[in-house]
């Protein structure tokens, strides 16, 4: 603490001015950065409309929506939820089943999938009444593993390990998911909708309640905030969003297998939230977009990608804990000290 206070005391007027400028501008940046990125994404197909590029970005949008939903529970409310991939899968399987076996229109199947995952998320949240903290993480991991196993071993409903493929043509707003450009725009619209909705939710008083629950649930209860309800709502909304993303995943990828919704993919989604940080929706969404894009772009690297991601996680955690800042400060201090000593050596009385 004392070292940081020293920095502020030594601050020149110019530094102070720029720090205050930054403090004034920062909220605006946080608020508008992602909307601007989304706006730019609408222009991408005019610059580069290669099929591969569009597909990679489409997957990034799906992940962006998933992460925006998960940010409510894992990021804001602090529920250790690693099950976002499961609700994504539940939405995808529900949609695929309704579209193929029941011949429903895509929009109707999507609505039903959102309702199903929302209810499932709410049921899942009931366990937060009894299971807290790390134990809830174990429950959510168990749920994720169980769901993937269930999908793989229930062939009469889920088509078993082969999964769904050869789905009928799906259309929304008159656009067909068989066209990669149309798919790109549909998924981008879905992502934009989810982001705006989540950004508005966290800006309401409920966003503050969620953060308060995260920091201290005893204090939250003493202010009349029901920790149980807050957790339930954040999980329900997040799951419903995952269901929506799952439906669009069926439309855009048109091929779903149980391993797409196992523990590893689900954990990856949680990782984006952890790297992006607590209580910052824009940051987690940007992290998800960038890392998904890079991972898809560098598929050629194979499993090395996981190693690189591991290094990214370590740096993100160090950065959040202030380790990097302290290290760089100490380094600068040391360099400055050396210069100082050389110059002032004769008079130095330290």
């Amino acid at each position: 603490m004392s070292t940081r206070a020293a920095i502020v005391l030594d601050e020149s007027p110019k530094d102070r001015w720029s720090r205050e400028r930054l403090a004034a501008i920062w909220p605006l940046v946080l608020r508008w950065f992602v909307p601007v990125v989304i706006g730019l994404m609408f222009l991408v197909p005019f610059v580069n409309d290669s099929r591969l590029q569009l597909q990679v970005l489409t997957i990034a949008f799906l992940n962006g929506a998933l992460v925006a939903g998960l940010a409510l529970s894992l990021g804001y409310t602090g529920v250790l939820n690693f099950s976002q991939g499961t609700f994504y899968g539940l939405g995808a399987y529900t949609t695929a089943l309704l579209v193929t076996d029941y011949g429903l229109q895509f929009w109707l199947a999507t609505l039903i999938a959102v309702a199903v995952t929302g209810v499932a998320g709410w049921l899942f949240s009931l366990s937060t009444g009894r299971v807290k903290g790390d134990y809830f993480a174990l429950v959510s991991i168990a749920l994720t593993i169980a769901f993937a196993q269930l999908c793989a071993n229930l062939p009469s409903v889920t088509r078993g390990r082969e999964g769904f493929f050869g789905l009928p043509e799906m259309r929304l707003f008159g656009l067909s998911f068989d066209d990669s450009l149309a798919t790109y725009y549909l998924c981008l619209l879905m992502f934009a909708f989810v982001y705006v909705l989540m950004a508005r939710v966290v800006r309401t008083f409920y966003g503050r309640s969620m953060l308060t629950v995260r920091y201290n649930d005893v204090a939250a209860r003493s202010m009349g905030i029901s920790t149980f309800t807050t957790k339930a709502i954040s999980l329900t909304i997040g799951s419903a969003v995952a269901g929506l993303a799952g439906a669009f995943m069926v439309g855009s990828i048109q091929f779903i297998r149980p391993e797409d919704f196992g523990f590893n993919p689900s954990f990856m989604i949680s990782l984006y939230v952890i790297i992006g940080g607590v209580g910052s929706l824009p940051a987690v969404v940007i992290v998800a977009l960038v890392l998904t894009y890079l991972q898809e772009q560098f598929r050629g690297l194979g499993d090395y990608r996981v190693g690189v991601l591991g290094i990214v996680v370590i740096f993100a955690v160090f950065w959040r804990a202030g380790v990097l800042r302290d290290a760089s400060w100490r380094l600068r201090q040391r360099l400055a000290g050396r210069r100082l000593r050389r110059k002032d050596a004769p008079d130095a009385d330290v």
Binding site: F205, N216, M223
Partner: protein, 258 residues
């Protein structure tokens, strides 16, 4: 009027509080003193719903509060602070104070509909948000923290954080406010100032009861209208500050010996 009747609690065979009864009305400052482990905080935790009493009952204006959850107790108008600070350190001062207004924003139900209204941007929700901000700023101004509204809490001094916690608990104008060791960790000068601030606030409003749980005997005797003395989980005195300072039992506990 807050009425406690025969409150008692047993933790696995240890009697932490037994047969504590008292009543306190609005506009009063009630001091609660006693050595470590005498049951002061246990009593607050029972009244605010964090512990379920083994015996006895708590009533606010004849409404039964015994066994209600902390959320419900807060809804009934009983607020509290904690011995150790429990603020959201990465949020701003204003956001912390507004978190204390949760019940104002959420209304009577779970607040889900109100949240949906706010997310969609309905005019009523906008108005409520603006009014809530005003209330929070008033609460901050009352503890002289309005100029720190947009500062991140983690970067403020301990004394300022204490004042913020007070503002957060007071933001919704509770009918009874429990302050658990509000001056712990403060320098004597700061403690004195905070104490005067709090009692000024309590006496300024006609309908609020302030209950001070304190360690520093003299501070409590200076500001309270009435003082309860707890020792070993029992209520050993309930009297005016003058009588308490002359009470032989209290002297024995605080000074030791005769």
């Amino acid at each position: 009027m807050l009425t406690c009747d025969g409150l008692g609690i047993v933790f696995g065979g240890v009697v932490a509080l037994s047969n504590v009864s008292f009543a306190v009305g609005p506009g009063h400052v009630l001091g609660v003193i006693g050595p470590n482990g005498s049951g002061k905080s246990t009593m607050v935790n029972i009244i605010t719903g964090f512990y379920q009493p083994t015996t006895g009952s708590v009533k606010l204006d004849n409404i039964e509060l015994t066994g209600k959850s902390p959320e419900i107790v807060r809804r009934m108008g009983i607020a509290r602070t904690f011995q150790n600070l429990r603020l959201a350190l990465e949020m701003t001062t204003l956001d912390n104070a507004m978190a204390g207004l949760n019940l104002y924003f959420a209304g009577d139900g779970t607040g889900v509909l109100r949240m949906a209204e706010a997310a969609v941007g309905m005019p009523s929700a906008r108005r409520r948000a603006a009014e809530g901000r005003e209330l929070a700023m008033e609460a901050l101004a009352s503890v002289d923290m309005a100029h720190r509204a947009n500062v991140v809490v983690g970067s403020m001094s301990y004394g300022e954080q204490k004042r913020l916690e007070l503002a957060r608990a007071m933001a919704l104008r509770p009918r009874v406010l429990f302050l658990d060791e509000p001056t712990a960790g403060l320098a004597p000068q700061e403690a004195q100032e905070l104490m005067e601030l709090m009692c000024g606030l309590a006496r300024g409003s006609e309908d609020m009861t302030l209950v001070l749980i304190e360690h520093r005997l003299q501070l409590v005797l200076d500001v309270s209208d009435r003082v309860l003395v707890l020792d070993g989980g029992r209520l050993i005195a309930d009297d005016t500050p003058v009588n308490i300072s002359n009470n032989a039992d209290v002297r024995r506990i605080y000074v030791g010996g005769e």
